[in-house]
Amino acid sequence: MSTAASAAPPATRPVMEPVPVRVTSVSKETHDTFTLTVAPPPGDPVSAFEPGQFSMLYVYGVGELPISISGDPAVRESLTYTIRSVGQVTYQLVTRQPGDFIGVRGPFGSSWPLKEARGKSVLIVAGGIGLAPLRPAIYSILRHRGDYNRLVILYGSRSPRDLLYRKEFAAWGLLPDTQALSTVDYGGVTWRGHVGVVTTLFRLVRMQPKETVAMICGPEIMMRYAARELEARGLPPEQIHLSMERNMKCGAGFCGHCQMGPYFVCKHGPVFSYPEIKPYLDLYEL
């Protein structure tokens, strides 16, 4: 038995107590988005996550935020987060140096329906930073490629310079039985790719709707119109899943901040099936 596997996880760590972890790398993805990897203690439950789950990341003395895990779930030695610097805590996270420490709690929440999708095609629809929580699902599918039919990855972003994981994305597109298409809302004149909202890519997709499971993550407006359009194109609603963002403060259902209708997004979500969340998606200021 390896040391990592035999190291006993702490029996009862309080859910609100962060685990100090060492930052191993910080890499720039775009002008405002960075990918941070950290090394959790070997065998610690904080690193055992399902694709789609999130952690609470704590910057010593500054604050704490929910951040989706964007790395490979099979790699237990590290945890990866892709973070857009939009506020004080995210700025502090992306300006960490290798060797610095941050705190991690979790993993929290529901995950992408990878088991249910076995034997079917998978359609990934990502918008902006929403590709990050979907990347672990892509890794998982690629590791168990035989369990799935076609893999289609559609990715919409604001402009070419906002596209994440560019090299990786291009490599996905070259894999057999895999389509990876990106589109931007506005292209520069040197951009040779698609320009238009992400749903304009749907008609370029080769898939059988009834045999496809869709996983959508992006800005809420984009998820709404993507889910509606997929349903119109014949995907059974229960095969459409999306990941919601709300103000998760505790991750454990105590703080009340992330409520959306009957749900606590931190524990009932963030990944919901379309029929679960549809009645509440179109209610403004719910």
Partner: protein, 380 residues
């Protein structure tokens, strides 16, 4: 457990409190402070609000002199038991910077053996609700659990209702049915109050026996039932929470929410005084040299603008949306989440609302507008 009831006088009640203190309990009771009643540590009956009663009305709470010998001629403390069990402000973590890395210090939840004297049935019901919320799911709130587990509860049945009470329609009062160690009823017609004491747990019975309490006269039990029934019948406010889950979905776009929003100040008083509102926020503090950092948990309110903030803006930015969320959650969604409404009919939100917004009246109006919408739909 055998059902057993006892007769206590004020000395007997003092003996109960003294016994609890000897056993290491911090005993809390309703105490006058800042011209209101609050849960405060007490040492005996002398700390209880004899000579005071309350005037409670929408937007109005006053202590009024009372010329009876009763210790419990009032109704509710400003806060529920959450003020003691679900702490308003508590440090949840301390960490120290240590050679480039930080170390989480030992952070035991602040435990205490709390005993409460004079818990109203609505507040007992609220504890059962909080138990569901904070202890009943995958994760448990360690701080609440540490304080709740050892709590000793001496309830008091209500034989009178305040104008703002509506526990009868919520099924939580005026008589406490469960969840107490001892339940008292006060008889204060004469110079000295007497108490009918029912044991609700083995610990409650042991305590009553240890204090040498005499058996209760046989007719007292019926007198208490009648007193509570009179109190129930006297309630003019009522709320039909069973109707709420369907109603709130149907009435999401009702103009009535705008009508409330014109009056609501979004001050959050209702959420502070509500015995089941559990929402909290977390704050970080550091020493000026950065060597020590703490996280504190504090009560929060869904009426604040920042409550739903995600980058880009707040989900519920209008006051209308925030009131709608609060009422919809409290009466309706709570039932889907926890199998019970989040309201126990204590009436505090009515009393402490600075503009007197009345949850029973707002809900009634919403029901009326739903009925009107339904009849319009069927007319065709």
């Amino acid at each position: 457990m055998r059902k057993k009831s006892y007769r206590l006088d004020e000395k007997g009640l003092d003996a109960l409190i003294a016994h609890l203190r000897e056993q290491g309990y911090q005993v809390y009771g309703p105490k006058v402070e800042d011209a209101a009643l609050h849960w405060r540590p007490i040492t005996g009956c002398a700390d209880l609000p004899r000579g005071w009663t309350q005037e409670l009305a929408p937007g109005r709470a006053r202590l009024e002199p009372d010329n009876s010998a009763a210790l419990f001629h009032h109704w509710t403390c400003a806060e529920g038991l959450k003020a003691v069990l679900h702490l308003p402000l508590v440090r949840i973590m301390a960490a120290r910077r240590d050679n480039g890395w930080f170390r989480i210090l030992d952070n035991p939840p602040p435990a205490a053996r709390c005993a409460f004297v004079g818990v109203r049935p609505c507040d007992l019901a609220a504890l059962a609700v909080l138990d569901r919320v904070l202890l009943g799911d995958r994760y448990a709130d360690d701080i609440y659990r540490a304080r709740r587990q050892g709590a000793f509860l001496i309830a008091i049945h209500c034989q009178r209702s305040a104008p703002t009470c509506f526990c009868a329609s919520m099924g939580s009062g005026p008589r406490a049915r469960s969840g107490f160690d001892i339940a008292l009823s006060e008889f204060a017609e004469g110079d000295a109050p007497e108490y009918f004491a029912e044991a609700g747990s083995p610990a409650g019975m042991d305590l009553l026996e240890a204090c040498g309490a005499a058996p209760a006269p046989p007719d007292w039990s019926r007198a208490v039932e009648e007193g509570c029934a009179r109190a129930a019948a006297a309630q003019t406010r009522r709320l039909d929470a069973h109707a709420a889950p369907q109603l709130i979905d149907a009435l999401f776009d009702s103009p009535h929410w705008d009508h409330v929003a014109k009056r609501c100040l979004a001050c959050g008083n209702c959420t502070s005084v509500c015995p089941t509102c559990f929402c909290v926020n977390y704050e970080d503090r550091t020493s000026i040299d950065g060597r020590e950092a703490e996280r504190w948990r504090l009560w929060d309110s869904c009426f604040t603008q920042s409550f739903t903030y995600i980058h880009g803006g707040s989900v519920r930015s209008s006051v209308k949306a925030r009131y709608r969320h609060w009422l919809s959650h409290k009466l309706g969604r709570w039932q889907a989440q926890f199998g019970t409404p989040g309201c126990t009919g204590c009436g505090r939100c009515i009393v402490w609302c600075p503009v007197g917004i009345d949850i029973t009246e707002e809900f009634r109006q919403l029901q009326l507008s739903a009925a009107a919408a339904a009849s319009f739909a069927t007319k065709d």
